[in-house]
Symmetry: C2
Subunit: 451 residues, 2 copies
Amino acid sequence: MEPGPPGGSRPAERGPCLSSPPGADEAASASPLSAARAEPGRRPPAVAAVLPAGGSGERMGVPTPKQFCPVLERPLISYTLRALERVCWIKDIVVAVTGENIEAMNSIIQKYQHKRISVVEAGVTRHRSIFNGLKALAEDQPDSKLCKPEVVIIHDAVRPFVEEDVLLKVVIAAKEHGAAGAIRPLVSTVISPSADGCLDHSLERARHRASEMPQAFLFDVIYEAYQQCSDYDLEFGTECLQLALKYCHTKAKLVEGSPDLWKVTYKRDLYAAESIIKERISQEICVVMDSKEGEEHIGRLLEEVLKSELNHVKVTSGALCHAGGDLQQIILEQCYNFVCVNVMTSDFQETHKLLTILEESNLSILYPVVVVSVHFFDVKLVPLSQKMENLMWIRGFAKEVRKRNILLYGLLICYPQDEQKLQESLRQAAIIIAALIKERNSGIVGQLLVA
Amino acid sequence: MEPGPPGGSRPAERGPCLSSPPGADEAASASPLSAARAEPGRRPPAVAAVLPAGGSGERMGVPTPKQFCPVLERPLISYTLRALERVCWIKDIVVAVTGENIEAMNSIIQKYQHKRISVVEAGVTRHRSIFNGLKALAEDQPDSKLCKPEVVIIHDAVRPFVEEDVLLKVVIAAKEHGAAGAIRPLVSTVISPSADGCLDHSLERARHRASEMPQAFLFDVIYEAYQQCSDYDLEFGTECLQLALKYCHTKAKLVEGSPDLWKVTYKRDLYAAESIIKERISQEICVVMDSKEGEEHIGRLLEEVLKSELNHVKVTSGALCHAGGDLQQIILEQCYNFVCVNVMTSDFQETHKLLTILEESNLSILYPVVVVSVHFFDVKLVPLSQKMENLMWIRGFAKEVRKRNILLYGLLICYPQDEQKLQESLRQAAIIIAALIKERNSGIVGQLLVA
């Protein structure tokens, strides 16, 4: 199954190599690397990656090629680029897209601030696109600013969940054997039809595997194979490992991959990808207090209820005072969900501070960030209606920050004297907060919800 | 890709055989049948289905076997049963579940009012479970109330999106050839590993297919095959078509299936299934007016904006007056989304009427039904806060109907004199309504949203 909630499997932004302090990703991605470093000779060689992205995605049944289909409003290929980009030992990433998509590709790279990416023109088939990518990396290209790697990874633009450990495994295996590729058990039995459309025979599942991506090769091996191979191979072949075997007699090492190497093929796969990403960025909530925290602080109480109600969700807290120092740290660790508790103030002053910090952090460039501005009211003191009236202008406010990919919601929590009733409305608040974070529903931003 | 929005591909409840007037499903499911009837000899024979559901679903990485995992709070297997049940020419459906799940299975059948289902105990392997199902259908079982069919369909409990047309195709092909099965093109290249974990050779994709479900057999052929086959087959075999070939020399006819025959295997597939189902039940909105409709009726204006804003969504309207006659029709046609426009009244009287009709209709037994209670206000006449105060008790109300799988939300639409401003708030309302219907977020039921 897909990697579960643990922080390490959260989307990988600001990896260890991208000039950022240690974050969840480093925890996630450093381990295999350091393991490699630990063993002499296993230090990864100079590595580049080639990403064929010239497909038309006709199987999706949608006009947009699937690698450009939006997932949480961001093109799928951007997630795949991020997954490779975070791996600091991948020096260059070459993407092959069709002529009419080159401009779009360049604006994706700019908008989502991708690094170390070169764009080349795709060929009419997958193999030709890969070949074009390899040519760009070969030193015999005078105009190329890229330098020839020792090992080249070939991956699909539509496999966004590739993790560093499998990339490292195929690279190390490729350095040793000349070629390596990830495999998975077969989900369905594979059969061979006879000419009359009947079953000729079925293959023994245990003896076969699905060949997935990533694959890795000694650059000279795969480049040689592509230079040798026939037009028929370039037109109708699908398997790079086969080319290395056929033309360089290089037997590829097969590496067991995890299920999250799956390929986004059908529309349902886009749905699945979006759900997985939503799940991954909903694993941590930061409760921001507008005042010093005492044991009896209502924000603290809410934090406790969130902890007890939301399993698998890490609930941290920070204060906006002292210039949000600890908040910066939380942001760097890629928390995409914030609950701003307003006790001292009855306006959006604190929420505004938080939003400013978030906007400056660029946190929302890659994922929509949820901010729930929480206010309390005691029906005995102020009528709910009046409280709501005061807070109505959150709507215009939300509309503004929405443009910067921040989803702002208001939440009014009834604060009765009765201890039990208070717990109940805090529990209700936790359910609402969880729902807002899980769905990231942009249609209801700026709404004032009541618990 | 999965069948898109057209009504015909909406979930199939109250099929043509289940004593209901013509609905979307009949449109969807009658066509292949009538086609079959049109051609002499193609009328489907006496057919039963066997559903092996004894799997542990270890690939899901969750404790619950995947066929019992909830999708929109309903177990996956219930969707598959419904897909078979709606097909009136399938006389009996035999489900094989493990001993410890028999009770759970029976309560699922009762809760979701499934018909024509018999439960038998699963074997330790898939083949043994199927064999148990076949035994229950064989006449030589004294205690069995089932009668032996001419053709038996074998399907997976974890393929909930099977359509009648492919069922009919395999049944007709089975009657002609003795055996038939659905196939799909391979998504990944299939390779054969050598003993040392290297690539031995890769299979030519074009020459192979993935064997999917459903499959169909002349009952005597497959029952004979299971009686003949070895323990090794029963333990390690995966392919029923292979058994028919091996033991009865029956060559199975292969039938191209659609992508929605996919098998729910990993956690991501559950996400995909939920998104597909949500999409399918969000294709129609019924706008219910509380008064006679004039051209200038505000409900009519909202209806128009909904039509223009929500592409691919069918917007119908009905009135609650004359005892909701036309509403009954809309419900029978399986509309799961209602917008109740309150103009004459400023309370929930009309919403209450609608909810009563919905509850009596049992519409929400299988899918959560969304009801948006819409009210209008003119800030110049009544302060928003007061309007909200009046409507606050929707919360308790929503809590009540939630128990019956109805998701109730309140929506206040600002009704300014300015024509342009009115259009803007109606547009905003349409966006909110679309978001509520798309997400079916139970965490925010009872909230009063403002457009």
